[in-house]
């Protein structure tokens, strides 16, 4: 079942990807922009990070694939952007990249503020040190 459902959604997605070339760009109201920000914020981190790589670090799609170990980063990006558009009721439209960037920026910066990362001086184990030596560190 797992594979069948995956296959079903894969076929549906590929069809949508082809159709998307004809989609118009939609501009959002402020209320919709706020919803978009919330939806991005609720995404799992491994999905959000794809948007961060594209919109915060301006990475090319091919580089996003390398750094995040993704087979088809362009498809992943389309999936996420289409998911977000559909959350706003615009399944057959493309979101404006400028507005998406603004929303991703807000989520990313909010996350930076909330992160509260401490520098922890830690005694690293032998396995860790061995791996680091193996990459020349």
């Amino acid at each position: 079942m797992d594979n069948k459902l995956k296959l079903y959604f894969k076929e549906e997605f590929n069809k949508k990807l082809k159709e998307s070339k004809t989609y118009n760009i939609i501009n959002l109201s402020q209320e919709e922009k706020d919803i978009l920000t919330e939806k991005i914020s609720n995404l799992p981190y491994n999905e959000k990070v794809i948007l961060y790589m594209k919109y915060i670090f301006d990475e090319k799609e091919s580089n996003i694939g390398l750094i995040l170990d993704l087979e088809n980063p362009e498809k992943d990006i389309f999936f996420l952007e289409n998911l977000l558009a559909s959350e706003l009721g615009y399944e057959n439209k493309n979101l404006d990249p400028k507005e998406l960037k603004e929303a991703v920026d807000i989520v990313y910066n909010r996350e930076l503020e909330e992160d509260n990362i401490e520098e922890l001086s830690h005694i690293y184990g032998e396995k860790f040190m061995e791996i680091m030596r193996s990459i020349g560190l």
């Binding site: 079942m1 609720n42 491994n46 750094i67 999936f79 401490e118 922890l120 990459i135 020349g136």
Partner: protein, 176 residues
């Protein structure tokens, strides 16, 4: 593999990598520990991330200097969440066993459907139900991720999944 990677790194890049490692390893460890709450797993996350950075070191040249630290922190967080999800898959909660077995039996029954039947049945689902299945099966989100996205509890996410599968099964039976 690693030796091959090292050969590709110039002396300047090696020095930059060492500088990055010295400057960021403790911060990256801290970021990972915030997510994983386990020092061994956090060490794994840091080492995996540095392997990835060393393999793709040339990509860091494209990142503005003032964004490199945040770029590395983003990478360590991503790796930490990956480990977190792997770990979670390995340790299902005991009190959810009943739900798991019910889900499994629904999935078993639905295995007999072919793709064409499935196409027909999917049309009977509501948009939100289809979206739930798409995120679960196509994007392989965990129940925790689904619950965060839909703003429901993890238990409700499991029940919703089970209910949608049951609906598909019942529709399948109706259609013979």
């Amino acid at each position: 593999m690693i030796l091959l990677v090292l050969n590709k790194i110039s002396k300047e890049e090696r020095e930059s990598l060492e500088e990055l490692y010295t400057r960021l390893k403790d911060k990256m460890f801290g970021a990972s520990l915030n997510i994983l709450r386990d020092t061994f797993d956090a060490q794994d996350a840091v080492s995996n991330t540095f392997i990835l950075i060393s393999e793709n070191f040339h990509l860091l040249n494209n990142i503005p200097t003032n964004k490199i630290d945040n770029y590395c922190i983003t990478m360590i967080k991503n790796e930490s969440y990956r480990i977190y999800n792997e770990r979670k898959k390995e340790t299902p909660l005991e009190n959810l066993e009943t739900i798991y077995s019910k889900e499994d039996s629904e999935e078993e029954i639905l295995k007999i459907l072919d793709i064409e039947e499935l196409n027909m049945l999917m049309k009977n689902l509501k948009i939100e139900e289809r979206k739930f299945l798409k995120l679960k099966y196509f994007r392989e989100w965990t129940y925790e991720e689904l619950s965060n996205y839909f703003k429901i509890s993890e238990q409700t996410a499991r029940k919703r999944h089970q209910r949608i599968l049951e609906k598909l099964r019942k529709e399948g039976e109706k259609n013979g």
